[in-house]
Structures are given as structure tokens and as C-alpha cells.
């Protein structure tokens, strides 16, 4: 459910890709383009840097795309405007990140950042007890989609996935085990799984592409076409690439034939899941012909509640994801137009 809703965090470190905490902007840091302009004035004059993540990420990406970024494809986060004492108290981790990973003293100079893939609002569809449609299968955390975040998670709210719904899932699953017998997979199923893993391990070197090559192409494709800005042509081309990679994944090979800590075979299995997830994200993004939350379609820039105030649910069948819809649960807070 909601697999097209992929959040880009506004401040990931240039060249490294990991996070510079939102707390930096929370403490008052500015975002500047290469001309030294505080560009959020153009996009969200009332909230400035504190606008929600999708808004800030789009603003940054627009600056970068329109040539007002730095040559390394970034904009700057200027933390020097925060009092030093406060930086050392509240942003110490970022002081260390700047020093150790960017060679920058963030108390003295701005640091280069850009939007980076951060969080998947979508996931395995569950109820509020973490239960899925398959009896006995539970999902929790980022893998799950309880849908408390809608299309756009707010900072710190992933704690809901872990502390609240993770706990509920655990409690519910534990109670269930008291009522039902443990599942006993048949020998045939185990033999199939074993044969699948043996097949990956035993495949001849050079039979196809390396797992790492496919993974790299997948990442680059998704980051290019199913990212902050999307359009039909781009998503379609990504979907074609993903489907080609799925074919290629049938003949990939790995190096490690061992039985202890074989990360190679783990990586190969994970690649299969990544490809399925990427395909689902493409199909959802292509299908949702509007802009909402983390999904921004340049060819459909408006939100369209009449047609799209609903979840896109995907089910894997032999030919790929099958589309259906489910209703959005709306309680106290009614959907409104977002204006800054």
C-alpha cells in the first residue's frame, strides 16, 4: 500500500548521502543557494526552512536544477547562524559529522547538502495490530504501512512505527501464538527454498551480471526518475529498466560459495526484494496521476481529491503488481490545502 510515497529528506550530506539532522533547521539554520540567497523565501515565506520535508526537498532540487546550486549538485546548510553554545549542546552529532565526514567546522562555515531518499511511507498493509491479510504474518516498522503518515511522514513520527505499532504487533502476535499451532513448513517448501539458495550459490561465475552491478543500476535509475520530481515518461522508463533488471537477476552470479556469514547470498536475495519494491513504487507512481505528499508529478502538479483521495494497493501476481484501491481513514483532521 502507498508504495509510491517515498520521502526525500532535505538535508543529506553531499557525496556521502547520510543524514544531517532536521534539528539543525529546528535550531534555526538557513538554507542557501550558491548565490548566498535564502531561497526558502520564494517557496514557503511563512515557514521558511521549517516547511515540511517534501516542500523543502522540492525547493532545493529546483534551485539545483535551475543552476543556482553548487557544482557538486548541492545547496548549503548554514548552521553558523545558530549560537555556538546551542550547537554544541543540541547538534553535537552534526559537529562530528561535519568534522569527520566533510572536513567542515559547521560552527564556522556552511555545509553542502542535497535531498536524499530517506523513508518509505508505504509498505506491507497492516491493521493497527500489525496484522496483514495473511493470517499469522505481521509487519512492523518501516516495512509496514499502518498509514498513520499518509503520503508524507513528519519528523520523529517514525517512533509511531516502532514504539507504538511495533509494540502492538508484538503483543498481538504473542497472543495469537497461544491460540494456534506453530506453522510447520512442509518438506517440499523447505526443499524448494534450499534449491533456490543452492541455485544462487552454485551459479557459474560469468553466467550473467554481478549482483552489485544490477543493484547499482537499480539505485541510479530510481534516484533519477522516481525521486523528488516525477513525470510519466521518466517513471515509464524506470519501470522498463526495473523489469529488464528483473530478467537479468535470473542469471546473476555471486562469488561466495561458503556457508558461514555469506553476505553475498544475502545480498542476492535482497536484490530480488529490492526489484519487487522498485517495481511496485514505479507502478504506484505511474498510476497516481496527481501530486500529493511525497509524490510530485510535474505533469500533474495539483492534488486531486475527487479522484485520488484513496490508497493504491498492489498485489504481486505472475505478471507484476495488480492494482486495487482502499479508502483513506480520516478521523479528526480533515485534508486541507497546504499553504505556506
Amino acid at each position: 500500500m502507498d508504495m509510491e510515497m517515498i520521502q526525500y529528506h532535505p538535508t543529506t550530506l553531499a557525496g556521502k548521502g547520510f543524514l544531517i539532522t532536521e534539528g539543525a533547521r529546528g535550531e534555526g539554520a538557513h538554507l542557501l543557494n550558491a548565490n548566498g540567497e535564502r531561497f526558502m523565501e520564494t517557496y514557503a515565506p511563512n515557514k521558511m526552512e521549517l516547511a515540511s520535508r517534501d516542500v523543502v526537498s522540492r525547493a532545493e532540487q529546483t534551485e539545483i536544477n535551475e543552476g543556482r546550486g553548487f557544482p557538486d549538485g548541492t545547496v548549503a546548510l548554514d548552521i553558523t547562524v545558530v549560537p555556538k553554545k546551542r550547537i554544541h549542546e543540541a547538534l553535537r552529532e552534526i559537529v562530528l559529522v561535519g568534522r569527520d565526514f566533510a572536513g567542515v567546522d559547521i560552527t564556522r562555515e556552511p555545509i553542502h547538502i542535497k535531498p536524499g531518499n530517506h523513508y518509505t511511507m508505504g509498505g506491507v498493509k497492516t491493521d493497527i495490530d500489525g496484522a496483514t491479510e495473511i493470517p499469522g504474518l505481521y509487519a512492523a516498522g518501516e516495512a509496514a504501512c499502518v498509514s498513520v503518515h499518509g503520503g508524507n511522514r513528519l519528523g520523529a513520527n517514525s517512533l509511531l512505527d516502532t514504539l507504538i505499532f511495533g509494540r502492538r504487533a508484538g503483543v498481538h502476535a504473542a497472543a495469537r501464538t497461544k491460540r494456534v499451532e506453530p506453522a510447520r513448513p512442509s518438506k517440499a517448501i523447505l526443499a524448494d527454498e534450499q534449491a533456490m539458495i543452492d541455485g544462487v550459490i552454485g551459479r557459474e561465475r560469468g553466467s550473467g551480471r554481478r549482483v552489485s552491478e544490477i543493484r547499482k543500476e537499480l539505485g541510479e535509475t530510481m534516484d533519477k526518475y522516481v525521486a523528488v520530481f516525477r513525470d510519466e515518461q521518466g517513471i515509464q522508463s524506470a519501470l522498463e529498466t526495473v523489469r529488464r533488471l528483473k530478467e537479468e537477476a535470473k542469471t546473476f552470479y555471486i562469488d561466495d560459495r561458503g556457508t558461514v556469514f555469506n553476505q553475498d547470498v544475502l545480498g542476492a536475495l535482497e536484490l530480488g526484494y529490492m526489484l519487487d519494491n522498485a517495481e511496485a513504487a514505479c507502478v504506484g507512481a505511474l498510476h497516481r496521476k496527481e501530486s500529493r505528499g511525497a509524490q510530485y508529478r510535474t505533469d500533474f502538479p495539483e492534488r486531486n481529491d475527487d479522484e485520488w483521495l484513496k490508497h493504491i494497493d498492489l498485489k504481486m501476481n505472475g505478471d507484476g503488481p495488480e492494482i486495487s484501491y482502499s479508502d483513506v481513514t480520516i478521523t479528526e483532521w480533515q485534508p486541507m490545502e497546504r499553504t505556506y
Binding site: P71, K85, V95, S158, E220, K224, G258, V260
Partner: protein, 404 residues
Amino acid sequence: MSAEPETRAEEQGGSTAPQEQYTLKVRRFKPDSGEGPYWQEFEVELDPTLSVLDGLLQAKDREDGSLSVRCSCRAAICGSCGVKINGQSTLACLTQIGEAHEFANRRPDEDGEGEPKPVVVEPMGNMPVLKDLVTDMESTHWTKIRRVTPWLLDDGDPPERERVVPPESMVDITQTIACIQCGACVSACLSMEADPDFIGPAALAKAYRFVGDPRDVETRERLWDLAQDPHGIYDCTHCFACVDACPKGVAPMDQIMRLRRAAGHDEEIKDKNNGHNHEAAFVNIIEKKGTLDESLLLQESYAPGVAGKLIPKPSALKGLLGSIPTAIRGLRSGKMRSLPKLIPGIHPKLPGDAQEHVKHIYEHAEEHREEVNLYITGEEDVVPEPDEEELSQPEVSTGPKENE
């Protein structure tokens, strides 16, 4: 905004820095091959500011997928990629490959071969190796962490809401809270090399996290336990290896010293290892003589002060006699280099009024027995500015870290 997503075809990472060639020399071990460990060299090409971990992952991706290394965040937060680089225990993600290369080549080319030396990467020490750079953290690190009861022992009744403490009462333990459980200090620990049962730097730092927590109600019991254990707080030899190795500034040895002060000084726990008395002996001798008079050390450790010598306790005699073999070993191995040092009364005095200066240092320390927690006031190079005058009185937020 243009409708051309191609315009953001920035390669992931977006780095424009020049690529350099490096050689990684990796200690490998394949447990199911029946062979012993061996060395393998990998040629990698990357921006010097990227990490040794990035280099390892490149070798794994391009050349040999069977090379195993644990990692997750690449940002020195998860603590997974503890390894030894050029012999130093650290995190692979926190070590820039350019710097590691310079370190490996810091000495002039002694063998005259003219070849640059490789960056040497090995699994962490003091732990069994499972495969390549992957060590068994369970059998050493986690077992020892569990040994120190690593959770809050509160007064039993959960309050209606969370337990609120003033931020300043938590300053003392913020340094230990920064631990990411990477095991670099355990890997570097020389005491643990000699005594594998030593509880060790990571677990003892974790112990201080609860000893120093105002909400914990079993402070004395914890300290008693760690002081009496022959592999406990008095098993550390002050070698600073853990302080050097720790990538997060936890300074485990400092936490062990805090435990000792809390146990021996605050709680006045007399440990059966004689650890507190031994430590006090150093302090007292130097206060009196200015430097360490080794001839007094053992007697002062076991029979402190005039009273201790007039009426020596049976345990003191036993301890002194028991130390004789150690002393002989010290003489034989050359650790105690001069025999006269063992004869009381000939210890040289400090020149001039240096002795007075030492006493003055002691007085000052007595008057100011508060520790400045550098982890909070932090950055040593902070130049005080008008708005920073209160910097010496740190306030910290102990609220939960924002989850991103």
C-alpha cells in the same frame, strides 16, 4: 521547474573529487575452507575523503563478493564496522582512505623498494573471528555487557508519567551514553589481552552509565560487585588504548576511573583485590615525595600509613608475601631496572621547590573535585565569545534523540 527529470541526473553521491588508487591489504579467513587466515590485496580507486569502508565495499562489489564486513549506516552511528586499520582499532567508516594511506606510508621507505605500502585491514582483536573482518561480538563483547546489569534498576513503582530528572544531573553520564557498542575499545584493550576475563572498557563504561544515573537505586550494590570482582574495575592498567580507540569520545578508561572513585572514595568500599589501597598508595606516595618511590609502593598498598605498619593486618602480610614472586619477576624481566630503587630512604628529592608545587596541585585538586565533562563543553578549540560566557556551566537536553 522543468519537466525533465534527466536534469537531476546527478550521480548518487554527486562527488566531483578526483579519484586515487589505493591498495587494501585485508586479512581474510574462510572458516569452512579448512585453511588458516591469509592476506589478500585489493586495488581500489576512490576519492581520498571517502572511507576505508567505501574501499572495502568497492572491492567486494567489483572484485570479490565473498569478502565479508559488517556495516550499516556509514556514518559512525550504528557501530557495526569495527576493524583494525594499520593496527589501530577503529570504525572503517570513520577512517578516510587517504589518511589511512598516508599513515601507512608515514615512515621513509626503509626497504627501499619504492612501492607505497598498502592500507592494512584486519578484524578486531580480543574476539574470535567468524569470517574475514567479521568477529564474534557475542562471546566477548555482549557477554561482558550483560555482566554489568545494563539496565536501570529503579525503585520499582512505575510513575504515572516518565521519570523526570534535571538535565544537569545527567551531564555526568552523557559521555557514556554516546557509546555505540562498536567494540573498538575491547579490541584495543591490553588488559583483556592478558586477562580475557577482564570485564573490559565497553562494559565498565556501560556500568558507569547506570552508576551515575540519579534514577538508579542500586549504586552501592553495583560498585561493590565491580570492586570485588578480580576482573573488575581494578583490572585496568591505565594504558589509554581504549581512549585512543573509541570513535565516539566515550573515553572508557575515564569512566573506569570514575567507578573507582565512586567505589573507593565515595562509598568507601574496601575491595578484597586491594585495588583501592593500591591506587591510594600511588597518590599518597607522590603527595609526600613528589615522584613515585617504588620502594614504598608495596608496603603502602598493603599496610597503609603508620598505623598499618605498626599493627599490620594478617591480610597485609599475606598480600606482601604474595607479592614477592611478582617483584622477582619484575627484577628478572628488567621491569624494575635498578635494585637501589627498592631500598627505602634513598629516593631522590625533587629539586628546588618542586615538591611544594606538587603539594599545591594536590590542594587544588581537593578543592575542585568536580569534573569538567569535556563531552559536553566539548570542542576544545571553541574560542569564547561574548555570547558564550556561560559555556563552562553546561546544560544539556536529555530528552530522547529525535528519530529521523
